[in-house]
Amino acid sequence: MIDLFGYGAFFLSTALIFGLMTLGLNLQWGMTGLFNVGIAGFVAIGAYTSAILTTPDVADRVGGFGWPILLGWCAAAAVTALAAAFTGYATLRLKSDYLAITTFGVAVVVHLVALNAQSLTGGPFGVAFIPRPFAGVQDQAALFNALNLGVIAVVTLTVYLALERLSRSPWGRVLRALREDERAAIALGKSAQSYRIQAFAVGGAVMGLAGAVQGHFIGFIAPNTYLPTLTFQVWAMLMVGGSGSNRGALLGSIVVWAIWVGSGSISAAIVPADLQARAAALQISAIGVMLCLILLWRPSGFFAPRSGPK
């Protein structure tokens, strides 16, 4: 019973962290129409920033700052926002495809830095001993899991409410106006580029925060957590949930993560061990096909409210 609860808490915590990333993407894509193919890179920037600032001192790596976890999270969001703002600044005055290509490059380069800049990121072995919230009660598994789920739920809820608030604010209205009719919005004196950079930066901050929360939840990060598959999962979550809707983003994350974990454990149970890697490849392929099918037949997703602000 305790085990089941522990597993449920773990599952929900992971799903909510994905939900945070999807909320960030929803601000960029769903509300502003900015295409980000480098989600994994921005999540990694956040995760590494917080990990480096909060971990105890280790030989051959920058560190030992010993910041409190919360400060680490804020720094993660800030640094990722800066990286996203710069990416946006370089590309958003150009065609929309250039942003996509550049974000793709950001993910490649961040992964490369994580892998090779050993003195900063610990190289392929990653960063260990990231302080976990409530580490003091780590021996009481149930309490520890529940408290962690609580923390993640509070962070997610805060971000959700803030984003809902933002999307109803004048700022959010400008973003929607820019997405729907750029010329009209510009004619009203709104700088398209500046608003888009802001939206991209805020979305990036949420992704960085998600990365930091994930790092502290697991207590360990390594470069290969942040591969294109992660970007892909987050996109699938948003498309299933319905882009443009924060509620859809959260529900989509939970549903897609459940499908992902479920199909993974089914294939682990029935597929022989030597074919596991192939089964995993097929799983990713299926997600890709699903993404295309949703684009073709159900572009508004499954969980977005039918009416209301769009």
Partner: protein, 298 residues
């Protein structure tokens, strides 16, 4: 100083350039950046591998590691890759293009790329394979540069393909139609250019060249499902550096990226190779977003 990196860069650059021709044409004619283009390369390489398996390899020709069967297989694979691209266009891209939001097409290509790549991994596993495991002896050609027979053959093949592409785009009727459509779609329709044929030609050329480049990577390096994804960033960077829509620009951009990567391997360290394309891409976007041979956006 060892000048070998110049030759290595030239060869890597010609493969990138061949890939970039397809990207630049897709972008200028179909108006979207195709993230699945790298996977056409990988599919092309595996298709050639499968065809070689069927018709059987033969004794290598002279100083080369491959014989006529591989060249024949490459031609067949180019056709197969073109079919793959046309099929993908038919089930996915054409339908989304008709809705008029180009960024949705980009996203679909992103989904398709993931599906295609993982499917290759499912069919052939992620471990690398080779057309031939024979070891090539490199011949010194002066200045400390050594070259293998395969490298010479593939450089000649690239040159032939690029010259052929240039003649096609500048002399043939279809090539002129493609350029006209990329410059002004509305006017091209008005003068009676068959858009469906232009779109088809774009996919066929892009996919066939991607396949050729994939086979070359397979001959010189190895065949892996990830090979296309790894080349995607250099290819995009080359297409943008050369100027979107320009075939000579794409090739030149590819050569510049290839040479810079090789120089980075020589002077900075092999582990940073993949960052070179990104640095060049950012520099181009910040300084001259239209690229070397591009025209200002209308």
């Amino acid at each position: 100083m060892n000048l070998q990196f110049l030759l290595d860069g030239l060869i890597a650059g010609s493969m990138i350039g061949l890939g970039a021709i397809g990207v630049t044409l897709t972008y200028s004619i179909l108006r979207f950046s195709n993230f699945a283009h790298g996977d056409f390369m990988a599919w092309g390489a595996y298709a050639a591998l499968a065809v070689v398996g069927v018709i059987g390899g033969s004794t290598p020709m002279g100083p080369l590691s491959f014989g006529w069967p591989l060249l024949a297989a490459m031609v067949v694979a180019m056709g197969l890759t073109a079919l793959l691209a046309l099929a993908l266009d038919w089930v996915l891209f054409a339908r989304l293009r008709a809705r008029g939001q180009s960024i949705i097409v980009v996203m679909a290509s992103f989904g398709a790329s993931m599906a295609l790549r993982s499917l290759l991994e499912f069919l052939f596993t992620s471990s690398p394979t080779y057309f031939s495991r024979a070891i090539q002896i490199a011949t010194p050609i002066g200045l400390g540069i050594r070259i293998t027979g395969d490298q010479v053959a593939l450089l000649i093949l690239t040159l032939a393909l690029v010259i052929g592409m240039h003649l096609f785009m500048s002399r043939s009727q279809r090539g002129r139609e493609m350029r006209a459509y990329s410059q002004n779609p509305a006017l091209a329709r008005v003068v009676g250019i068959d858009v469906a044929k232009v779109v088809r030609a774009t996919w066929i050329i892009g996919a066939a060249l991607a396949c050729a480049s994939g086979v070359m990577v397979g001959v010189l390096v190895q065949i892996r499902p990830m090979m296309g994804l790894d080349l995607l960033l250099p290819i995009f960077a080359a297409a943008i550096l050369g100027g979107i829509g320009s075939v000579p620009g794409a090739v030149l951009g590819g050569l510049i990226i290839g040479l810079s990567e090789a120089a980075a391997v020589q002077f900075v360290g092999a582990e940073w190779r993949a960052a070179v394309a990104f640095v060049i891409l950012m520099a181009v976007l910040l300084v001259r977003p239209m690229g070397l041979f591009g025209v200002a956006e209308r």
